[in-house]
Symmetry: C2
Subunit: 312 residues, 2 copies
């Protein structure tokens, strides 16, 4: 046992993230082979954004949570892929001219710039729908009972929907021109709402989904969800900081928040206070994992540290 612990500790987080990200990519490749009934164009548009080289944070969290609760990573790959599909659909829709109107993402043209707005909207719709199909397949393959099968879909839908990620996106739209809002508008509360919903909700759902697939107890699911809430906040605050002070080459684009007078942790609290808030949330995330053993929770803890230390 001691030997295993030492060996695992020797694996760097970087190799862990890279290996798991490759597993997720391989699963996605299998899932994006054309179905006979599907127009070639929609598969192309969906694949373009799915394989645009993201960090695969959400699917990795599904796998890590699943393992933390005693499951095997490969058994949760479809649900991991589902969470990445939902994240990707949200980016496609966010980039649309009616929303953030972005031409580039990760240095490549955005979906609507390549395929047109209509197909981009439908590619997002297709990804969101396919995510539920694939998660449901996973629950049947794992032999989950009806209650857990339902809980899996509900956790994902709650995290993604109008009281989760979609709600956060709405709040983000409504924060535009926030400096000219009347004094009833509370920017600090509003910003916390945005980050909790636009980012943390789907991260919480990723962790819960991994736990549900591993048949975790209620108390363990609660711990994963609390971890996800703090991790999501830490991640997004760290993003705000990186946008303000990060290395432009590594980030792709930065400084855009300030240029757009966006409501961010940096604009409200300054860089130093924001950094400290991200650290506090990362510590809270790790503290939530006390119900697990040190061997079980090690990767989730290291991911929490990475979240605030990363430079891109």
């Amino acid at each position: 046992m001691r030997k295993t612990l030492i060996r695992e500790a020797e694996i760097s987080l970087e190799s862990y993230l890279s290996a798991y990200s490759k597993m997720v990519d391989a699963e996605l490749k299998k899932l994006f082979v054309r179905h006979a009934e599907e127009p070639a164009s929609i598969l192309k548009a969906m694949s373009y954004s799915i394989f645009a080289g993201g960090k695969r944070l959400r699917p990795i969290l599904v796998l890590a949570a699943h393992e933390c609760c005693g499951g095997k990573a490969k058994d949760a790959l479809k649900t991991a892929a589902a969470l990445e599909m939902i994240h990707t659909y949200s980016l496609i829709h966010d980039d649309l001219p009616a929303m953030d109107d972005d031409d580039l993402r990760r240095g490549r043209l955005t979906n609507h710039k390549v395929f047109g707005e209509a197909l981009a909207i439908l590619a997002g719709d297709g990804l969101l729908t396919y995510a539920f199909e694939v998660a449901a397949q996973n629950s049947a393959e794992m032999g989950l009972d009806g209650k857990r099968a339902s809980a899996l879909i509900q956790a994902i839908a709650c995290g993604a929907g109008s009281s989760g990620m979609v709600g956060g996106q709405v709040a983000d739209l409504e924060a535009e021109d926030w400096q000219n809002k009347n004094h009833g508008f509370n920017p600090k509360r509003h910003l916390e709402y945005i980050h909790l919903h636009k980012t943390a909700s789907l991260i919480m759902a990723s962790l819960e989904a991994g736990g549900i697939l591993a048949r975790a107890s209620e108390s363990r699911l609660k711990a994963l969800s609390d971890y996800g809430r703090s991790l999501g906040l830490a991640f997004q605050i760290a993003d705000d900081v990186l946008d303000a002070v990060g290395d432009k080459k590594k980030m792709g684009k930065m400084g855009s928040d300030a240029a757009n007078h966006k409501l961010t942790y940096v604009s409200l609290y300054g860089v130093e206070k924001a950094r400290q808030m991200a650290r506090t949330e990362a510590e809270k995330a790790k503290a939530a994992l006390g119900v697990f053993s040190a061997q079980q929770n090690q990767w989730l803890k290291r991911i929490a540290d990475y979240t605030i230390e990363r430079d891109k």
Copy 2:
């Protein structure tokens, strides 16, 4: 038994559709009460289109299929509501400027005309996501086993996604300017694909969902699915005919297909042949229900007749 049959036969289809549509509306009202975490604006935008007065065909088919398989209509109401949410989301996204660019639907301003494009896109996303949440709740409340809980979500996702309704919408976009396509383009085959996917797929999913919730056997699910396929085709061909020759007052808008040089059964086959094709499909739909008793399948059969006889 004989007495019950006679009594039921005396209820007109019109009263049946009206009563069931009211049950669906009441369920939707319960489901669209604001969740604490939800911005008020997104609930308003989703509710605007959900309560815009549709025929409620898909949810009624969920309920009718559920009863046909021995279930009680009220037990399938959440799934019925879910299918209406998916139908509604598809209309909101179809109406967007990047898609059909429609200002009016059923005589009212379309969602994006009232709430703006960004919120309309998100309202659609929110409805699609909520549909899966509510269907999953229904499966847990009904105590479905894991296999059936998964089948329910998969049936709905298959019908709605890129190999179903979204795929049909893509094919519809790609049929624009069909008269100038090269000779490799087969308009008849393409049009059947559009109608089967854009319309019939979600109708099939509605029937399958009602059956799965009632724990129907594979052969009965197959019968419901076959019925749905033909019913969906009949419904859409009848729509093409109504657009060409219907009563303008009852239809709201008509003649728009011809004005837009749209690929329709009327433009390819003429009114008389199209009418005959709709009748043939309605007969095929009814014939598929042979595994059920006359009492069980009566409403689905009457709905098939209504589909081609309606004047709006």
